[in-house]
């Protein structure tokens, strides 16, 4: 299982308090206990915030080892994700510069124009439409289909449905959801969490149940969850491959990020493997798929 949206508690480059770190850790651990093994921490910023381009190690504030010790949870891998709220996509000139520092890059368009332009111009993995408030534009199938053809998926977060207290936002969410599913023709949608609190995390069965009440078919819902894999693969291949032709390392899912340089430099040191002595056949161990 995947969850591509575990929100980073801050929307700017300030440091987290201890309380926030614990809260974030709790969400990830709860997800892990629900068998969600691939988790992406989502750092959401406004386009007006300037990124520290001059000091590369500070571009990505999410330092995974400081939050959770991945080695203690077998099978868990934590990815980092950047979401930029886009109002005027012409401001995003430096967008390509920081793509290599995050596993996933997403946008949150505010207007129709921003959506259209960022689909055409930017190299992104995911589009997150603000579903819990009233959308001030109409999602056109033509534009949305363009994104899906490129392999860019649309994200649905179930958090605001559970946590929101006002009935208004719930109403907006459901109507927007139906709009999105109509515009995408039930293709290229990703279901993610977006839970800031561990109590709102839901298991797969619950998610499936809820979307069934909205009138979606069960196989479509499973496809939505499976789509997360393609989003992750797309993001990882952008960093770890040359134009999706040849990638470093021999991971058959193309999703492994444990060997990357934590500073975000594209060096290959982590990928070096020691050859065992007197055991030339070590490499010839047959790989079998589980």
């Amino acid at each position: 299982m995947y969850d591509l949206n575990v929100p980073w508690p801050r929307n700017n480059y300030e440091k987290l308090t201890d309380e926030q770190v614990v809260g974030l850790r709790n969400v990830i651990v709860t997800l892990y206990s629900l068998k969600v093994y691939k988790v992406a921490i989502n750092f959401e910023i406004d386009e007006s915030i300037r990124l520290p381009v001059n000091s590369p190690q500070e571009i990505n504030p999410i330092k995974v080892p400081e939050i959770i010790d991945v080695a203690k949870f077998p099978g868990l891998s934590v990815y980092t994700r950047l979401t930029v709220v886009v109002n005027d996509s012409s401001k995003l000139v430096s967008f390509n510069k920081f793509q290599n520092y995050f596993d996933l890059v997403a946008i949150k368009p505010v207007s129709e124009k921003a959506l259209q332009l960022s689909i055409i111009n930017l190299n992104i993995d995911l589009i997150s439409v603000a579903l819990s408030s009233r959308l001030n534009f109409y999602l056109k199938h033509k534009i949305v289909g363009q994104a899906i053809k490129k392999g860019v998926k649309f994200e649905i977060c179930y958090d605001s449905l559970i946590s929101s207290s006002s009935s208004m936002s719930r109403k907006h969410l459901i109507s927007n959801l139906i709009q999105l599913i109509r515009a995408t023709r039930s293709n290229g949608v990703v279901i993610a969490g977006g839970c800031t609190d561990a109590i709102n995390v839901r298991s797969l069965n619950n998610i499936v149940n809820f979307f069934e009440t909205l009138g979606l078919k069960r196989n479509k819902i499973n496809q939505f969850i499976e789509n997360s894999r393609y989003v992750l693969m797309n993001g990882r291949l952008r960093i770890n491959s040359y134009k999706q032709v040849i990638a470093l390392d021999d991971d058959d899912e193309l999703l492994d990020n444990s060997k990357d340089d934590p500073m975000g430099n594209s060096v290959v040191n982590g990928y070096k493997k020691q050859k065992r002595k007197g055991d030339a056949d070590e490499q010839t161990v047959k790989r079998t798929k589980i």
């Binding site: 392999g151 952008r238 770890n240 134009k243 470093l248 390392d249 070096k272 020691q274 050859k275 790989r287």
Partner: protein, 277 residues
Amino acid sequence: MLEKNELERHLLSRCFSDREKIDELLETRYTFTGAQKPSLVLLPTKTEESKAKSLLHSEPTYIDEQLKKRKTNTRLEARTYLKTVKKNQDSLVRKIQEYNRLKLKTPKKPFPLSKLIVKFQIPTYEEFLPMNRLWNDYAQSLAFPEIKSPEDKLPNKQMILARLATAEYSGCLLTVLDSRNPNLLGLKGIVVYDTQYTFIICVERDEDEDATPAKQVGGFRFVPKKFTLFTFDLELPNQTEQDDKYLSFTLIGSRIDTRAVDRSTKKFKSHNVENIL
């Protein structure tokens, strides 16, 4: 060298069987004192009397030696070679299957496999090992040309990958990492030829008697690139004995479905990842 008056000679040779007659005719054509005939005398060639042929009769096709020679080229030769190898492999596999099906009262003699492999001229993995060694040197010098001593820093990740993306892969030792076809998983061999949609690899023979006949025979395998991931290892250059390290790479088959020649100049682009696997 062209013979003198070759064209005329060729035309006349259709009408006159003996050479002297032709010489004489040409002689008279090009002298000042002779007849100086402006035209060539072409006699009708003798045709067989047309008999009533049966409906099923077909003329033997006349193959010009020249034409045959012109049509042979390296590509076609390679093609026929690969076809014959495949045919031989299949027939040897069938032989083993037939032998396994035999039920004799006396204990069976062991199948003379090694003898038959020579007889059927099935290519062996060992024959291609020198090619693999050559490729390793080539790939090292291509990927890390800057490194002269072990202390030198390795080039940037994207740089290595960009260089290897346009590399030539015949000679590389590839392993199938993942594929939509589960039978291909774990297949390992040296690339013999890199076609547009397949890698032709030579696999090692399995000496084990319980292995499937195809594995016992070895030889060439035609692995489609589409929906397949390949992996290969590349040793780092100038390593000391103790510090012998290598890098692994994954080739994404669905993205390299071009011929090696075209790949060197191709501009790659990222696409929708759903058709990778």
